[in-house]
């Protein structure tokens, strides 16, 4: 009974939308906690359908089917439909998004149990999934933009979920504004694409790209850069990254779902989807690679000194996203998507693990944790495995995907970027080890906290375990053997980067060598971490004093927040204040001056009315005189015209 699963593709986003509407309308008065169940069930159905579609597409090979609903906008020669494009790339994304979201929804039931605003939470979370799926499934840039801004909105709503306190809603505003700056780029890219190619649907645009590249190379590069600006906004790359760490103000499941697994990867998906465009965009590809690598390194350095467990994971996400853009930049989009998939699993797991810890200890500062290993065994073991995946220890998922990226960087002629990748890998391993030791190992530093710590209920730990399976086996299942694994063959058709397609058999010796160097770097990182935090031989406090200024620089996150918040915002406000002053005083001033002038004229004339009859008679006589003079002048020809 092979029902045409792909035809039902609109149900995948449809069901979460329905759940969101139901929770939204009836959540406050009647459903309360039941909204969680409704949302989770809806996501479950959507996940099942998503995975079914994934396997249907796998079975059907390189299929790319467009399921159209209706024409959205049609003005003049500009036509855009609401249509879904089901092909290997979008099917993979759908599968990842729906599965991870489902697990996070289940986890949230436990996490948000005592929160009075639970109905709001379970209205916006499924709404987010609907919009993310619209983004992923869209068959043209404009519909993708609808999902793009939509997820920006949901992240705004969910970051600012606890809106009583100022910190969350300021962070929410910051997130939305930064996304909006990125979206500005996306809009320009979309419009230019339409003006250059005459259409926005991928199937019309990509075949023409090669041709247009010859005639208008500059336009293509400009379009690619515009889209990339959109991607940096959404996926928190330099310079628009500082909203992601602040986004940790939102509830942890939100951080897990939106700010780790799905939304932030939208930028990567955009670049991956537009690979044919980026491939011929010349310098644009290099820009993507460089910004990706620099962001990875930059974020990893900051993560070294963070004390808030969620901030460490946030910077780690920014760093891993940098890796994905690096992969796209060096012409290995498949590696990027592969890392995106594995990262979704283990990063979501890390966030949920930290959520479980926060839920148990009501504390996010790692300096007051310690020794929770004994109290929360399931959380500890899942957290450890996910940490290992992040640190790219074989055979865990992170190793396969991240090292493939680093390897691709080397083989595609970017040795510097390769070095940066390996270095970042070392730092990543170090801060992961530091995080695990500070939280779970050693002596509990806060006994009151330690005594209250308890393992989270089943509804939270079961998703942890399921995600752990993904974190451990995703790498093997999808990416083994390297460069020729299942995902490579699967995505070969849709995301072929012509420039970097290797025709000959991947030479395994080089791959093994590169993998070895990456693993060694990772192990060194873990060793240093273990030495500093487990053995205390070079005591972390001593080290931090020794490096002095560098430490303070990292601690203040390179003073970027100060630059953005104070310099740019205050400067902007001062400028706009001046504009308002200009408006109120100059333009309004001119108008009021005009009115004053008229009244001045009026009062001047008033004095003429002296009330003395004589003066009036005099003015009549004067008039008579003038009349006589003028008439006389004309009559006698003196004043002829």
């Amino acid at each position: 009974m092979n029902i045409d699963v792909v035809g039902l593709v609109w149900l995948v986003p449809g069901i979460p939308l329905a759940a969101a509407i139901v929770n939204g309308l009836f959540g406050r008065r009647w459903l309360h906690r039941a909204t969680g169940v409704i949302a989770s069930v809806a996501l479950g159905l959507s996940a099942v359908l998503g995975v079914a579609i994934f396997f249907a597409v796998v079975a059907a090979g390189h299929v790319a089917r467009t399921v159209t609903l209706y024409e959205w906008i049609g003005a003049g020669d500009f036509h855009v439909n609401v249509a879904a494009l089901v092909d290997p790339l979008s099917a993979t994304m759908v599968a990842v998004v729906t599965v991870v979201s489902f697990l996070i929804h289940v986890f949230s039931n436990g996490y948000m149990e005592h929160d009075p605003g639970i109905h709001r939470f379970f209205t916006w979370l499924p709404l987010f999934v609907f919009l993310m799926l619209t983004l992923v499934l869209a068959d043209n840039y404009l519909l993708m933009f609808v999902g793009w801004e939509g997820v920006g909105l949901c992240s705004y709503l969910l970051i600012g979920f606890w809106f009583e306190r100022p910190a969350p809603y300021t962070a929410a505003n910051k997130a939305f504004w930064m996304n909006r700056i990125g979206d500005w780029g996306f809009t320009i890219g979309t419009i230019l694409t339409f003006l250059t190619f005459g259409s926005l649907t991928f199937h019309d645009v990509f075949p023409k790209v090669a041709g247009v590249a010859q005639t208008q190379p500059l336009t293509i590069t400009f379009i690619a850069l515009a889209f990339f600006l959109g991607a940096t906004g959404k996926s928190a790359q330099l310079p628009l990254y500082s909203w992601l760490p602040d986004a940790m103000e939102g509830p942890t499941p939100v951080s897990a779902l939106i700010h780790a697994a799905t939304m932030v990867t939208a930028g990567v998906y955009l670049v991956a989807r537009s690979t044919p465009l980026f491939a011929v965009a010349g310098p644009a590809l290099l820009v993507v690679a460089i910004i990706g690598a620099v962001t990875a390194l930059f974020a990893a350095t900051i993560a070294l000194v963070q004390v808030d467990i969620k901030r460490v994971l946030a910077y780690s996400t920014v760093s891993q996203l940098g890796y994905m853009f690096l992969a796209c930049g060096v012409g290995a989009p498949i590696a990027a998507v592969f890392h995106l998939a594995t990262h979704a699993f283990f990063k979501a797991l890390l966030f949920l693990g930290s959520g479980s810890v926060i839920h148990a200890t009501e504390e996010q500062d790692m300096r007051r944790m310690g020794g929770l290993r004994r109290k929360m065994p399931i959380t500890y073991w899942t957290f450890l495995l996910a940490g290992g995946a992040l640190a790219a220890i074989p055979p865990l998922a992170g190793f396969w995907s991240k090292d493939e990226i680093v390897g691709a960087a080397f083989t595609n002629g970017q040795p510097i970027l390769w070095a940066v990748g390996v270095g970042t890998g070392l730092l990543t391993a170090f801060y992961t080890t530091r995080m695990i030791y500070l939280t779970f190992h050693g002596e509990p530093r806060d006994h009151h906290l330690y005594d209250h710590a308890h393992e989270s209920p089943a509804v939270m730990t079961v998703p942890l375990l399921l995600l752990c399976v993904g974190a451990v086996f995703a790498g093997l299942v999808l990416g083994f053997p390297p460069e020729a694994g299942f995902i490579h063959r699967f995505l070969e058709g849709t995301v072929t980067a012509e420039a970097a397609a290797q025709s000959e058999l991947p030479n395994y010796v080089l791959i093994a060598g590169l993998a070895a160097t990456a693993v060694v770097a990772g192990l060194i990182g873990i060793a240093i971490g273990y030495a500093m935090y487990a053995r205390r031989r070079p005591d972390p406090a001593a080290v931090s004093r020794a490096v002095g200024p560098i430490y303070t620089l990292l601690w203040n996150k390179y003073f970027v927040d100060e630059l953005y918040d104070h310099r740019i915002l205050e400067g902007g406000r001062a400028l706009f204040g001046a504009a308002w002053a200009f408006d109120a005083h100059i333009i309004d001033g001119i108008v009021d001056r005009l009115a004053w002038l008229v009244s001045l004229l009026g009062s001047g004339l008033r004095r003429v009315q002296t009330g003395i009859v004589g003066n009036y008679a005099l003015s009549i006589a004067a008039g008579l005189l003038i009349l006589i003079v003028v008439y006389g002048g004309y009559a006698t020809g003196v004043l002829h015209r």
């Binding site: 959205w72 906008i73 049609g74 003005a75 404009l142 009583e164 504004w177 809009t187 706009f576 108008v591």
Partner: protein, 512 residues
């Protein structure tokens, strides 16, 4: 197109007559507030229903004028009572009747306490003026209606307004009057130049039927006169300072109608009269207007960010949104034109709703300074939901109606290749306006809605049934126009293309 043989003949004259008929009983019951309210509500509701029938009678896809009624009015001067609608004006008329009905409904819910009878009379008279502006095809009739709108608005702001109402309403009237007198001069000039002594006319269809009748130099000045009058009404940047004062001092109903419809008279006038009648004039003044529009978008948004008064903030945001309208109109291509008309409709719905909600909040807390407000989300969940959606529509979130208009205008702007600099500069600049919109609107939303609960507002009730009834149609429109804009675009596009073709635009579809 539901009723092919129109079931209601001369429906436009009916639309103009119903409010007048409504005024008669009001005169009798002017002292009895309750009766006055009921009469006004019934009249505006009937007006709304008749306008919906008119919409149903409208043959979609036709560019020309429909339901035209033409009767000689002042034969000696060749002035006719000529009314008709095309794709552009039919929707604006429906928007007018809807917003007036909602304003009257809301005002009867207690917002207006003293002299209710006179208020309703003023409002019905205003409705005649507004509907008249959109259906008038004779320049003289258009001018009469353009002025007729002014008087009741003057009274509404002047009598039922806030503290500085006299200053505000005087400024509003003088500003608009100055502009429209210029237009009157131009109309007379048009009349005199419209043909040899015998066949002089002011009827718009005749004027555009023949070859362009006006000499180039004449067109340049006539266009300037018309454009100035509409620029003040719109308002374009240098002439906009009357809008914030008028809005701050106007009562809620006044604000809704002022922002929702009166501003559209400017944009509509530009597209209907200024562009088609004086194409050469349009080409001459085009660059300046485009520059001013982009300035309006950025300047309006910039000034909004530092506003302390809620109504002033939304007033300045209207300046920014109307900047999009003029930009869309003057890039002279189909996307720009359709986008501009859509933006007018969407802005009418969204900003009308925003003012409605500021009014609701003001009726409850009697405070409008942003600093005094805060924490409403805690105890007004329904209000927050409604207000939030309208704020999002206003900042152009895709999926809601604000985005469609703005995106098409931006697309049109990018396509504009003329002087002084091609659209590739104006487009990104205008797009920055969308970012600024998000900044000031969300900043306002955060200051007003979020934050800790304030004791003063804790006990205030959430939306009452009347308020929900007023807001519901606007909410439905906001979402519907965002998700299904196509039926509306199908109505607008042929007529816009016809007007722009007259103005010398390169229009994709052949004009029929």
């Amino acid at each position: 197109m539901i009723f092919d043989p129109p079931i209601l003949p001369s429906v436009l004259t009916l639309l103009l007559v119903i409010p007048l008929v409504g005024i008669v009983p009001l005169l009798a019951f002017v002292r009895d507030a309750r009766a006055a309210k009921q009469i006004a509500i019934v009249t505006t509701f009937v007006e709304l229903v008749v306008s919906l029938i008119m919409l149903a009678q409208f043959r979609v896809g036709e560019a020309g004028f429909q339901m035209v009624e033409s009767v000689p009015w002042l034969p000696s001067l060749g002035i006719r009572y000529e009314v008709g609608v095309d794709g552009i004006s039919v929707l604006l008329v429906v928007l007018t009747t809807l917003l007036t009905f909602i304003s009257v409904l809301y005002s009867s819910g207690g917002a207006i306490k003293q002299r209710v009878g006179e208020f309703m009379i003023a409002f019905l008279l205003l409705e005649v003026g507004m509907v008249g502006v959109f259906v008038a095809l004779d320049l003289f009739l258009f001018y009469v209606m353009f002025e007729l709108m002014l008087i009741p608005m003057y009274l509404i702001i002047g009598i039922w307004g806030g503290t500085r109402r006299v200053y505000a309403t005087l400024k509003f009237v003088l500003f608009t009057l100055a502009g429209s007198l210029l237009m009157l001069v131009a109309i007379v000039a048009v009349y005199l130049n419209s043909g040899p002594a015998g066949s002089r006319t002011l009827s718009f269809p005749d004027l555009i039927a023949g070859p362009t009748r006006f000499a180039p130099e004449f067109q340049v000045w006539a266009f300037l006169a018309f454009a100035l009058a509409f620029a003040i009404k719109l308002p374009m940047v240098p002439f906009h300072t009357w809008l914030p004062d008028a809005h701050v001092e106007a009562p809620t109903a006044g604000s809704i109608v002022l922002a929702g419809i009166l501003l559209k008279a400017g944009g509509y006038g530009l597209l209907r009269f200024a562009l088609p009648l004086f194409p050469i004039g349009a080409q001459v003044w085009l660059p300046i207007i485009i520059v001013l529009s982009v300035v309006a978008i950025l300047y309006g948004a910039a000034v909004s960010t530092v506003q302390k008064d809620l109504k002033k903030l939304i007033a300045y945001s209207s300046v920014a949104h109307m900047g999009f309208v003029t930009l869309g109109l003057f890039v002279l291509n189909t996307q720009g034109g359709v986008g501009a008309v859509l933006q007018m409709l969407n802005h009418g719905v969204v900003t009308g709703a925003l003012f409605l909600f500021v009014g609701i909040e003001y009726e409850k807390t009697h405070r409008r300074q942003i600093a005094d407000l805060g924490g409403f989300a805690n105890h007004w969940p329904l209000y927050t939901a409604f207000f939030g959606i309208f704020v999002l529509a206003s900042l152009g979130l895709p999926g809601l109606n604000g985005f469609v208009g703005e995106f098409l205008v931006l697309l049109g702007t990018f396509r504009y290749g003329g002087q002084p600099i091609s659209g590739l500069l104006w487009g990104p600049l205008a797009a920055i306006g969308v970012i600024l919109a998000a900044i000031y609107l969300l900043w306002m939303f955060q200051r007003v809605m979020y934050g800790p609960v304030r004791e003063a507002y804790k006990a205030l009730p959430d939306l009452t049934p009347i308020e929900v009834a007023c807001a519901a149609p606007l909410l439905a429109l906001t979402i519907l126009l965002g998700v299904f804009p196509q039926p509306v675009i199908a109505i607008i596009q042929p007529s816009v293309e016809r007007m722009l073709a007259l103005a010398g635009a390169t229009v994709t579809v052949a004009v029929h």
